[in-house]
Symmetry: C2
Subunit: 406 residues, 2 copies
């Protein structure tokens, strides 16, 4: 199996059975491409994970309902950037439904086979007409090559500084299955809300139920193991579509495991790209939580560390401040025994049994000046390990999010 | 009843039955006063609330045990700044016990009648000898006037820019009861850990059980309703001592209610002073959560808003960004109905039923530029109100906490 990130020169592994398009509808103030489409001409099975925020954007409500109605079959996904269509009430719901109907009409399919997605500013009425007007150009632009995929990835960006794609492939017998993901997200988004949108495409032949199981597991180990600023958007979506065009069935010998691994690789790569592109982030921190009793408590502790402003600002200053890490473990709510906790910065142990452990501060400081590094916390409670990705909190983050825009 | 903050010209209401002292033991690197004592020559009843962090400093462990052993009787409190005596293992516990024994010896009382308190750097062995050496000078300095109280307040400061005191008094019949509090805290403390320490003194005659009930209620409505950066220190302590010297019994007609009100006033004033002195804070935000089902959910939602980096940075920019507030309510875990949520910035409504409500952005921006202001969130779920105090997240906060110190 091979996985590729966005900046590698190797081409993407593009699954069969999908066409991609993008255009400029005038929704982004910048005048950049802001409307994107992926179509499965023969349809696709789908699975999705949506935000847990109680305040959800209209397209999340409509998308959820559409998936229920079609029992997990999807013909197209329509994504716009520049307006989140959130806190827009009845007008917003109508806008999302109208968008699905308009694209469904153009593709000659019922509107519920279209999944809408939006990212951008919150609380501003959705410019339905701009979107509908741009649809013919969008539909005409459908193509299956790598250029179309990369243009799709660009059109869904907001404050992202990098387009985010990853892909993997594996063979089952003489057939090849591709898994490719496209994502956007870089912390919550200026000037109002934020969003992580992730679309993963594959040509394996799988049912929505099979996909949901695989997606849940992959998301748990990737997007649920990252944090830029601890905020959860109203639009967060991870959508997995399977065209079946490879001819490899999910239930077939050797397919399920290889697919799970490929999906996991692609999601992990996209999750890492999102943290790397975190607003104002100068450091990518790989937080290894070890000797936990289970994944839940490991994740709780990782989040308590990763979302502590004191820990994050210490990282911004390359300060080997293990006391703040220890205190964040203590305030997590997990019944840890401080006397069993060890902390390591890279190869150096800095805290042993909850106490200071002699270390070379200068070399720890130099280590923490690197673009990315590892911090390891041992809890002495069990055998579970978890790796969590996060970043530092810099003055640049404050600038990005504090600068008044209107 | 009258309450006074630190900057008022009126004198403090100082309860009878206490003596205060401070000196320089050389624990703070700055060379400022760093050791403080309060003594109740005839003893005092006590109640305390300690940090919920699982990682606790040695003085918290020793103080808790001492209170248990004496069934809530205290003769003296010994506070040092400059070293938190946390993550110091057996040496730290020994240091705390030795300090209590030494002071107990000087005051001719068993060591368990002394409550130790520490604030400052974490993970550095405690300089017991410096403290013990300074004790004779400290004990000799005991005095009951306002100057001694203010010197006590200064000696316990770390990154605080202001000393923090508040007092109130009330009459029962012809007798007067005074309640006076001294606090330190301004967010978590550079270069390592942090701490909120609060000492409240009164001359009412009350049992430890009566005091504990009153203290719990006052803390819930004051220190549990503030947040600078969402972090919980390993040393946080609120201690209430009652000398009984006023001759007014807590059970006496009219005393209990008046005492609860005075205690609440003093705690609220100190809590506000702590937020006002928040590291790098430019704005004091009074967050009014209304129409909640109960206090627990109101506090959960207030904390979700107050600890959101996106909300806090918007406040730093005086940005009337109600979308981030709405999203923070949504991610709090409380089962809110977005369609019932209203948000008001000062007198202006900015969000109605979860949607944008037309408002004058320029005047909202100007309103948010004030040193302090009100934001009101209505949940449409019940009748409970809660006021929560917090502050913005500025580049200055990042500087204070990121600058590498060693």
């Amino acid at each position: 199996m091979s996985t590729q990130g966005p900046n590698e020169e190797n081409p993407l592994h593009i699954p069969q059975g999908f066409r991609f398009a993008s255009t400029t509808a005038g929704i982004k103030a910048s005048g950049r491409a802001d409307l994107a489409l992926v179509e499965a001409p023969l349809g696709a099975s789908a699975a999705a994970v949506f935000t847990k925020n109680r305040v959800v954007a209209a397209p999340v409500t409509v998308g959820r309902a559409n998936l229920r109605r079609t029992k997990g079959r999807v013909r197209a996904v329509l994504v716009n950037a520049g307006n989140a269509n959130c806190a827009t009430g009845a007008q917003g719901l109508e806008a999302s439904k109208t968008s699905c109907k308009a694209l469904g009409g153009a593709l000659e399919v019922a509107p519920e086979f279209v999944i809408p997605s939006s990212t951008g500013i919150i609380g501003v009425p959705f410019p339905t007409e701009k979107l509908v007007t741009a649809l013919p150009a969008l539909v005409a632009a459908r193509a299956s090559g790598e250029t179309a995929v990369r243009e799709f990835a660009k059109a869904i960006m907001t404050t992202d500084t990098q387009q985010k794609t990853a892909s993997a492939e594996f063979a089952v017998g003489k057939k090849t299955v591709a898994v490719m993901g496209v994502a956007k997200g870089s912390g919550m988004i200026h000037p109002n809300l934020a969003t992580m949108l992730v679309y993963v495409f594959t040509d394996i032949d799988a049912s929505p139920v099979e996909l949901q199981g695989a997606l849940k597991q992959a998301v748990d180990q990737s997007f649920n193991c990252i944090s830029v600023d601890g905020d959860t958007s109203t639009n967060d979506t991870v959508l997995l579509l399977a065209s079946g065009a490879s001819g490899v069935k999910h239930g077939q010998r050797g397919a399920e495991k290889a697919f799970a691994a490929a999906l996991q690789e692609v999601c992990a790569s996209l999750a890492e790209q999102i943290v790397r592109d975190g607003e104002g982030a100068q450091h990518l921190v790989r937080l290894h939580i070890e000797q936990a009793k289970n994944v839940t408590e490991a994740r709780t502790i990782a989040r308590s560390i990763a979302n502590s402003p004191l820990v994050k600002t210490a990282w911004a200053g390359a300060d080997p401040n293990w006391g703040r890490i220890l205190s964040s473990v203590g305030k997590s709510g997990v019944a840890v025994d401080p006397a069993k906790i060890n902390v390591h910065i890279g190869e150096q142990q800095v805290c042993k049994g909850g106490m200071a452990y002699p270390f070379d501060e200068q070399s720890a400081h130099a280590y923490l000046k690197q673009r990315e590094y590892d911090i390891r916390v041992e809890l002495g409670r069990g055998k579970t390990k978890l790796t969590f990705l996060t970043c530092d909190l810099t003055t640049e983050y404050v600038h990005i999010n504090a600068d008044y825009s209107t």
